[in-house]
Every structure is written in C-alpha cells, then in structure tokens.
C-alpha cells in the first residue's frame, strides 16, 4: 500500500521493502576461495554483504543491486557473476 504522496511515516521501512530487484548480474561468492579479507564487505555500497555466525561472508540478495564492485575488488576472484533470471 502506497501512502498519499508516497510519504514514509515509518523510518527504516526498507527492512520490509526490498530494494535489490533491479539487478542484471548476480554476484556469487565461492566460500572455498574466500580468504575473509573483508574487502568486498568494505567496498559494497549497499551494505549488502554480511558475515554470518560461522564467520563466512554472504551476500544479501534482497538489497544487492548487482553493481559487481565486490567481484572487481576481490583479490582471490572468489566472486563471479551470473545473469539474473526473472
């Protein structure tokens, strides 16, 4: 439901409204190649990369917009891309 004038009355509502649905390419992280250097985590402009409870890095596709900066910056080429299919 869009409010009149598209006003946002509730701060932080992107926890509900996903913003990662205009991706053309989906970055795929190979955890075996990953050396946990955190460079992808630092460079991600959307904050869509996070560390899970096992200290593995993961990509949150609800918010990843597919800019592939992570893939470009990864020193071990652990992040590859596939075309997004709708």
């Amino acid at each position: 439901m869009v409010t009149i004038g598209a006003i946002i009355y509730e701060p932080g509502n992107t926890t509900r409204n996903k913003t990662g649905n205009w991706r053309t390419f989906r970055p795929i992280l190979n955890t075996e190649k990953c050396v946990k250097c955190e460079i992808c985590y630092i460079f991600c402009p959307e904050g869509a990369i996070y560390e899970d409870e096992n200290e593995n890095f993961r990509i949150n596709y609800d918010y990843c917009k597919g800019c592939l900066i992570c893939s470009k910056e990864c020193p071990t080429n652990a992040i590859t891309k596939v075309r997004e299919e709708k």
Partner: protein, 386 residues
C-alpha cells in the same frame, strides 16, 4: 463587511489570497502577473497580512519554496505566467506528486519566440498533465472567488492536489471591474484553519516526503492522483454550491457553465474571458430570433467529460474556440478533447486570439456562420491576416 471595489484581476487574486490567510508567498514577478505579488507584498509591509514573503530568484525556485513550505503544513500561494510557468514545469509535477495543496494564479500569456506578453492559453495548456487542477475564470469576480474556492478544493482530503487559477493576461489582469469583496471573517470561517493530516512538519513525528518511488510502487502513486482528479469533480461541484449558499455567487455547476443552451442547435465551447464576448453575441443574436448556446469549460483539469456529453447530447453543431494550438495536430487542446468526448459528432475547431490577437464580435459571428455552414469538423484559424 462585504464591499465592492473597482479593481484589476491581479488585485482581485491578491485580495483573495489575503482573505484565504495564506502563510507563505514565494514569488518572482513576471508580466502580466506582477501586480498580484506587488499588492501582496504591500499587504505584508502594511501589516494587513501576517505571512512570510519569499522573494525567489526564479519561478522554478518560487515553486520549490512553495512546495517546501506546503510540505511543512502551511497555506501557500504564488503567481506566474508564460515563461515563468514553463520554468516551473518540473516543480509542478513534484507539487502534485507530493499531494501538496499549493494554490497559484496563472495569468495566461503566450510563449516565446517571438517574445509576446499578451494573452493566450498555451502556457497553462502545456502544463495539462502535471496533476494540477486548472480553473479558468471568466472575469475578475470569478478570479477572486476561484482563488478562495481553490484552497477549499485543494485541501479536501479526497483531493489533495495543487490548483492553478488561470486568468487571461491583460484582458483580466489589467482591466478594472467592480468586484464584490467578501467579509474577511466570513471567508476565514468558510475555509477554516488549514490542518493537514498527511504532510506536515513535526519533530515528534519524523516523516520522509518525496522519497524514491521504485517501479514496484510508482505506478500506484500515479493511479492515486488520477483517482483524486476524478473525486475532485464532485468536490468542485460541492464547493461551488456551498460557496453559493454563503457568498451568493456560483459558476455553472462548478465544472461547466451553460449559457442559453436550451433549444440551441449551435453551441460554442470555450474557456476564459472570451466567454463574455460570446455571451454578448448570443444575446444580440437572440434578439434577431437566432438561438446559439455557449458551454463554458471552467475546469479544464479535471476535464468534465460526463457533463459535456450530457449537455451537448442534442446539439448538432459544436464549435470549439481554442486560444492555443497543438502544433503538428492542427487543432487546439480543448478541440481535441471535445472531439474525443463527443465521439462521432461534428466538432469544428477555431484557433483564436493567439498572442493577444483581438477576438471581436465579428470574429464570433464569423465562427457561428462557418459552423452552421460547415459539413464536417474542421479546424479554422480566425482573425489571421492575409
């Protein structure tokens, strides 16, 4: 106390804004609107009106300031014309999209080039699809009444859209007429204090206005505006009646006004001050036993399709006068829309009065004669020099 002053259309608009107790005025002077904001500046300087006056560096900024002010929850007003309105173009969409009840006077004037400061409707017609309600006044009295009504319409919870009241440059803006000025307290009681429910500034209620609208939600916002335009038709009719009960003046049903429509098989359709000329011609023809009617479109947006269809269902000859031209289609905007409304019926379109070209009584008679003789709908430019 209600009084009668002999004033120009721009002064009438300024007085109406004052009576409506606007709180922020942001404006940039442009011919033929300037007098309106000069009078308002004087009201504030003389302490007659307690409002913030923002002297903007352009019309784009003036509208931006009005949007900002309106978003905090206060009544706002500005005035513009022609190039100034065109300069506001992108801001007009924002005011409508954010559903802010900004009210503006537009003094209709031709667009450049060549530079022309005189009247035609091309400026406001070009802003047709911005989501603004457009009211075209016929005289100075209607200018004053329409500005007051505009706040009532714009602030209605079913509408929440900005309104521009359009008056013909020079023909109304610089011509004095006797205008009934309603009692200030009566107007304030009628409009009440503006208490926005959806958009206002309150530190205890942080909100985001004008956010990004991704493909998943943008279309819905457009549909809401479209629905609000439809609802506005009812609201405008209601406001017209309420206004009549309090102030004793009304304009047709609010959306359209019929003049001598009964039994008329020839009807002219027009907007703005030219309707006064047409009414005069109709009266003089009536004395000669000839029945011609006028349908005056008062609100171009929302477009009163249903009323026009109903009022013209018996009419054989429909002639639409346009003070604008949709270049490349060789018809005026009103002509195109009347033709679409009256599918299949003969509709002739007359391009008149561009850039302040006089529309004479003879011109109107020529139009009526052509309309009665014409077999098919066609477009004719009236008053062109050889």
């Amino acid at each position: 106390m209600e009084r009668v002053d002999v004033i120009t259309g721009t002064t009438a608009a300024a007085i109406a804004a004052k009576l409506s107790k606007v709180e922020v005025i942001a404006a940039y002077p442009i011919t033929p609107q300037s007098e309106c904001i000069e009078v308002l500046a004087k009201f504030i300087a003389d302490g007659e009106l307690d409002a913030e006056y923002i002297k903007a560096e352009s019309e784009h900024s003036a509208m931006a300031a009005c949007i900002g002010a309106s978003a905090t929850g206060v009544r706002t007003f500005t005035a513009t014309a022609s190039q100034g309105l065109a300069l506001m173009h992108e801001m007009l969409y924002i005011a409508a999209g954010m559903r802010l009840p900004v009210v503006m006077l537009n003094t209709n004037r031709a667009l450049s080039a060549p530079i022309n400061i005189w009247c035609d409707h091309q400026d406001s017609i070009s802003e047709r699809d911005t989501g603004w309600i457009q009211i075209y006044a016929e005289d100075n009295q209607e200018t004053l009444d329409s500005i007051i009504q505009a706040y009532k319409i714009a602030e209605d919870e079913d509408v929440l859209l900005p309104v521009m009241v359009c008056i013909d440059g020079f023909i109304l803006t610089h011509t004095v007429e006797p205008v009934h000025i309603p009692d200030e307290k009566k107007v304030r009681d009628y409009l009440g204090v503006y208490e926005p429910k959806h958009a206002y500034l309150d530190p205890d209620r942080p909100i985001t206005q004008g956010p990004v609208g991704v493909p998943e939600c943008y279309m819905e916002t457009r549909k809401q505006i479209s629905d609000a335009m439809e609802k506005a038709k009812k609201v405008i009719k209601r406001v017209n009646e309420e206004y009549y009960e309090i102030f004793n003046r009304r304009y047709g049903n609010g959306l359209v006004e019929g003049y001598n429509l009964e039994d008329a098989d020839t009807v002219l359709v027009a907007m703005g001050s030219v309707c006064g000329t047409i009414k005069y011609v109709i009266d003089s023809l009536k004395e000669k036993g000839k029945n011609v009617g006028l349908l005056r479109v008062r609100t171009y947006r929302p477009f009163p399709k249903e009323d026009i269809k109903e009022m013209l269902k018996e009419t054989e000859n429909v002639g639409v006068l346009d003070k604008n031209i949709s270049l490349g289609f060789n018809m005026g905007a009103l002509g195109i829309e009347i033709m679409a409304t009256l599918k299949g019926k003969k509709v002739c379109n007359y391009i008149v009065g561009l850039g302040g070209r006089d529309i004479t009584l003879q011109n109107i008679e020529e139009i009526i004669k052509h309309l009665e003789e014409s077999e098919d709908g066609e477009t004719k430019w009236i008053g062109l020099k050889e």
